[in-house]
Symmetry: D2
Subunit: 293 residues, 4 copies
């Protein structure tokens, strides 16, 4: 299939490479020309604008850093003006649901089919082609997008209409952030009160306190060998990326006039953690607020 | 075996009955004589004080409402003066670890063997004999207590030395409370932003946001048929009981000079929920702060 | 002086009337034509667009509900295209400092002099001409704006360069919101612990706990006769308006990567209060979270 | 007058010295004999127990570090057994209102007159004899205590019945702590957003955001020359002392089943600040959470 791919950062690069591996024909675009080189070396053709990248393809995929970028690339720089009516548009950026719905609405008005399809799984999942895609849009468009997304991920979930991919992503990540802090507080307190951290984790993980952050990604060093906590919080999902998602979700909550008391507290704690200089560490390093090394 | 059982409230009553079912010989005591009747009808003998209840038995089990009660029953009213040296003492109350260690220390000084063994599983688990016991104390004492606890529960976990049963219980429940609120906030926000709650729960539960509160005990009505949320938040584990545990754990954190930012926020939110008149509902009803009926 | 006034809501209307009282010549514009009638009845001339309202005047004053409105009225609907170079532009809206600086920057590039001048004092102060104006912009522009602002207010403060009027307004209001909640918590707790609220207020107000919310605008009914608390929380500064300012300030903090832990908590508590149906009551009614009637 | 003074720490020492200056006859006691030496050098007589210190005096004054000490000194070590009926008992310790009322109740039962009279003003106020005393107890006892307290302070306030001195003290200090953090967040944000801190403080202090923490004790260095912020946060009222008061007040709130959302958050933030190693600095140093040096 002919695919235009826009946005070749840490996530976009391995995603585009996986499309090439599945023998799709790729045109790429990024505002930083250097980022295109790695893909053209592998057989993609480069273009000089988002609009050009969207011409004469069956599918356009975008992977951009924020809502204003998405708005700009689709509405101003011209995916919607460059692409032919009927082109399937897949936005994999994590942005606020409101913007996702605005852009989808304008795309629909111009006879495009569009889905929002934010991912989870990090750069590791992008490399391995094991990302999860949370997809918002019509069922028919979801069905069309699915085989393409399966070149890059292994878990493709339909979340309902336009914008719902974003809703699922940011609400899940809000829960994740709060649960990670809950685990950090529980582990640090149990240790301070004299319990062996591994014993406590074992109990919580077979009891009502268990969560992904405690049983799979425990923030206490030495509890889970494969977790970032056991290698100095390197790799993984950066604290500043979590902060970005928490900022998105608390914004969305404000617009929806919905209280999220612990979500807002989590956003603040990650801001504090970032201000302390730890934004580049895996998000489980939030335990540093609670446990001095 | 000859067992003295002290404290016959909602939890103590079914626990004592399970001991009778396993053909243990029971002496019982409660400050409210009426509570003893239900057990003496089933074959237990009644006594007139904690001290008397502790005489001439192999094991003393206590199930009391708070730290001052435990201190009083063991140190003043006299389990330690009534019982013969060598008697195994099992305190199943949920209290602060500091008190648990104080009492165990005095028991040890008088040549008793003592374990703290708080439970989780609620009155349902007590009736069914499926409680979890988190046990703090010497391994030898744990081994002695285990067959007796197995008459009342199915999961008997050794948590380390004296007081560690309490540490495990309250730290687990702090994580649980925060994760329940996280789930309530995530579910309510996803719904407010236009997603089907069941679809969102399905996604979170196969992703990094999953926790016991989302996949087993979801607070959003209709998502899990067997959860209290689907029957008006009746039954289950009461909000005021969760508030009591949060009060214990935040106290323990203060004594240990350990920050628990979200734990303290959870304690406050459950206090607010209780002040709103919902203390008697299952603790998953905290979602009422976020979702108007 | 010839003045164009844009935005005639609850605040704009009395502000414009005070300018007429001081014998300024007024052109007015509002997207809702009805709102202009009250002013044209008093001698103002009406116009059909923001751009037209800005033509042939010495000064343009705007009083708009949010950042997008300000952006639109100045940059798209055309104050900057309608007005002659050299016209003094005064924006009295409360918006985020970032937008204020963007618009001021574009105004400067087109040879306009612009100040941001958000107000405090509410509709009461607007009627009485006793508003406080917090003004951001060059000292020379501040001096030019001052005599005009003095027709509408009594306290005209220079806060530094462009956008600083907004910074002063929203940072002050964040402090105010937190201090109001502090007062509500302190008053409600003192009363619950058995103290006479008036006696406690008297002590706090002569001690280190004093603040404007406790000594001038106390949220406990009956403590200060002239405060909204003593008349059912009617009048005053609405909770939803405080929520709007808290939303602005927490946004600004996020953009600046600055933690505001209690500010974010205050934003959430006002959101909860609003969700409880009290958004229309004076912001001191936040005490309803702490004290049942 | 003959006075027995028990508890000669940093506060008790200068308070006792001021009583000697006013030519009262003093007997003193402290569990650390060295602390008595400074007073006996000045003419006080030393005693060997709290009970003995309370014999044959008109008034007993206690200044102790915590609730258990007060309980012990009055009820176990024997002020109530040593003193003659009718002796006036004045407890200047800051403790929880519940303990204060318990001890007062037992004193009353034994025909003593007792008031609780916690202080504010710090060691500086104790040295200078300018403390504020918040007094709980009968008006008649307050009148008797007043001339004695006036030897040590300049502001003697009657707060109502037994325990109300403690209520006033801890509720005021909870408001103070929250307002200090509010000021720290507002000042740090205004500065980060580009405003001169002194200019912002000047505006807030003449507006609705003003409070004692902003206009008298501003936490931003250089804003108020005489404040601890302008001398490296030395002297003043230590963060760990504020943490102690916040712990007391959140305890009292829990017992009273009263939510104090920001009070609990303030307790946590001071705990975090203390864990960061700043417990010995003045409590305005909490701004270090928000502003890197």
């Amino acid at each position: 299939m002919n695919i235009g791919f826009i946005g070749l950062g840490h996530m976009g690069n391995p995603m585009a490479r996986n499309l090439l591996k599945h023998r799709h024909t790729l045109k790429v675009f990024d505002v930083m020309p250097d980022l295109m080189k790695a893909l053209t070396d592998l057989g993609a053709s480069h273009t000089t604008s988002a609009s050009k990248c969207a011409e004469d393809v069956d599918v356009v995929i975008t992977m951009l850093p924020s809502s204003p970028h998405v708005r700009s690339v689709y509405l101003r720089d011209g995916v919607l003006s460059g692409a032919a009516a009927g082109t399937l548009l897949i936005d994999c950026s994590t942005i606020d649901p409101h913007t996702a719905r605005d852009v989808a609405f304008e795309a629909l008005a111009k006879k495009f089919n569009m889905v929002d399809a934010p991912v989870s799984g990090g750069t590791g999942g992008a490399e391995a082609g094991t990302l999860t895609f949370m997809v918002g849009g019509d069922m028919a468009d979801f069905e069309k997008a699915k085989p393409i997304l399966e070149c890059m991920g292994k878990n493709i979930v339909h979340c309902g209409g336009a914008g719902n991919g974003q809703v699922a992503k940011i609400c899940n990540n809000m829960m994740l952030a709060i649960e990670m802090i809950a685990t950090a507080e529980g582990m640090a307190l149990a240790a301070k009160l004299g319990m062996d951290p591994k014993v406590f984790a074992g109990i919580a993980n077979t009891s009502s306190g268990r969560c992904w952050s405690s049983d799979t990604y425990n923030p206490f060093p030495g509890v889970i060998d494969s977790a970032p906590a056991s290698r100095g919080y390197s790799g993984g999902f950066g604290s500043d990326l979590m902060l970005k998602d928490l900022t998105l979700v608390t914004e969305a909550a404000k617009s929806a006039k919905q209280p999220v008391m612990l979500g807002a507290a989590a956003q603040q704690l990650y801001q504090l953690h970032s201000s302390n200089g730890h934004g580049g560490l895996d998000f489980s390093s939030i335990i540093k607020l609670y446990k001095k090394d």
